[in-house]
Amino acid sequence: MPRVPAAPPRPDPAPGSTVPPMLSVEGLSVRFGRQGVLRDITLSIPAGETLVILGESGCGKTVLLKCMIGLIRPTVGTVRFEGQSLARQGERALAHLRTRYGFVFQGAALFDSLSIADNIAFPLREHTRLAAAEIGAIVDELLAEVGLPPTVKHKKPVELSGGMRKRAGLARALALDPPLVLYDEPTTGLDPIMSDVINELILRVKGRGRVTSVVVTHDMHTARKVADRIVMLHPLSRLAADAPQIVFNGTPADLDHSRDPRIRQFIEGRAGNRLTELRDAAALAAGEGAA
């Protein structure tokens, strides 16, 4: 049961009508100054699906994820959550909508000044009228769910290891029982065992009701283990002017059978002639700078 009252439920759709997807991205482009990061991205994520967004570093995966929750405003295009455009929401409406999201940040982004228990309790204190004892019980339950001992409750984030911080970040993201959870590089910087623990947790979260998940990663093991569907982005700087930025959209099995050389290079982790290209580009930039 969600802990924050949701908007009034819409009546059941009439036979033949279409239910809006949990999240949709329509014609989304993002530019920072002169630099384009995303171009004409269109995606639809139905409720209950786990979508993994793959791609090389700098291809705009995290920017896309932050657009999905309204932390970055797209230059062009629309993001809709349950059919409601994020750009059309006022400050308060958007804040209320975000209580239906959980966001797990790459570096956990726990508040340094608060203890782990206060970090996890933060969204509960902000959005619910629960008594302190009830909030304490939920915090204990969430800590147990992500496999953290009760002794960490009073510790500050800086006293925890990277894996513990990630799990505490996940516990905080789940505090309001959101129907949509976004994960930004959930396994980056962790050892293989802890990475797989996080993968297991993503699968367990998916099992809590019909939770929809979007996972941004470049870890193929994570992608194969948790994904129902995989979308692969290619960096704009390496694309022709009119080529689509989404180079793959399908199941993990389809990805493994893809013959696209860009996809094969990524999933096999081959550098190819990338180092030569990078060195040439650096030399060219240095020459232009000197001129």
Binding site: T99, F105, G107, A109, D112
Partner: protein, 293 residues
């Protein structure tokens, strides 16, 4: 490869075009800089309006306010008191020779105390606050920006301006007058102690002259100005923290800029508020201030 012959006239035309391009580029640079500055001022103004909006829109939380007030007010008191004490003594040291030459050393109290309550007390308290708290606020918020803690707060539907800026703004606004009173008090004490104990100025004359030339308006003028200084420090510092660049360098630059810009703004506000308050004083007392000589 043979090069084409270049005539002197085409060389001169090229040089003229080069010069005009250079001038055009400089003008464009100047225009871009001006636009940047105007945009930055507009950005701070919007930030101030959002802060004011959140002060009015929602009741403040005690558990958020108390730590901010403690950090800004209580922890700043010792340093403000110490600098106030020394600035009072320094004023006595620097003024004594001139006053003695005129045979007016018994009036030292009036000039020391007038300078303190009108100018040095509020400006000193504000400068110490900008240095001790402004830089720290910018660094703290900058680190939160860089480590995505501000994004995390927004992603949970909590407003970072309400949680992070409003308590710091209220702390600076409400507590800077108390710091100013402390700077005034310690400065007056320091000036008196040095004048009486070291320079041997008579106790009765020192305080009688101070009472005659320093009135409540002078004291309230300093307190009034301090509210503006506190608001400026909080807004400028929080704005720099919120818009911090990446990495340690970005956070360091935000902290430095927070202090430098706050300090410049304190002096600017001091000048214009001083001019305006003198006019207010003249309006209520057309006979002007009492003359020292």
């Amino acid at each position: 490869m043979a090069s084409a012959p270049v005539s002197p006239s085409s060389l001169a035309a090229g040089a003229a075009r080069g010069l005009s391009d250079w001038i055009a580029d400089r003008i464009a640079d100047l225009g871009a800089l001006l636009l940047d500055r105007v945009a930055a001022i507009g950005d701070v103004a919007i930030f101030a309006c959002r802060t004011a909006g959140w002060i009015l829109a929602r009741r403040q939380r005690r558990d958020v306010l108390v730590p901010a007030f403690y950090q800004i007010g209580v922890l700043s008191l010792p340093v403000v008191a110490l600098t106030g004490l020394f600035i009072g003594m320094v004023l006595a040291v620097q003024s004594y020779a001139q006053f003695k030459a005129l045979g007016l050393q018994t009036r030292l109290g009036s000039v020391i105390n007038l300078s303190l309550v009108r100018e040095l007390g509020p400006v000193l308290a504000a400068t110490m606050l900008a240095g001790r708290v402004g830089g720290a606020m910018a660094a703290e918020l900058g680190t939160m920006r860089v480590t995505e803690q501000i994004d995390a707060m927004e992603s949970m539907g909590a407003n970072p301006v309400y949680y992070l800026v409003v308590p710091r703004f209220l702390g600076c606004l409400v507590l800077i007058p108390t710091l100013t009173v402390m700077a005034d008090f310690m400065g007056v004490l320091g000036g008196y102690l040095y004048s009486h104990l070291v320079l041997g100025i008579d106790y009765h004359h020192y305080w009688a002259n101070s009472r005659e030339y320093v009135d409540a308006f002078d004291f309230l003028m300093g307190i009034f100005k301090s509210f503006f200084f506190g608001a400026a420090i909080a807004l400028v510092s929080c704005h720099h923290g919120f818009n911090s660049g990446h990495g340690a360098e970005g956070v360091g630059r935000a902290a430095t800029n927070a202090f430098v810009h706050s300090f410049v703004l304190i002096l600017l506000l001091d000048l214009f508020l001083g001019m305006w308050l003198n006019n207010v004083h003249d309006f209520f007392r057309p006979e002007g201030p009492r003359r020292l000589l």
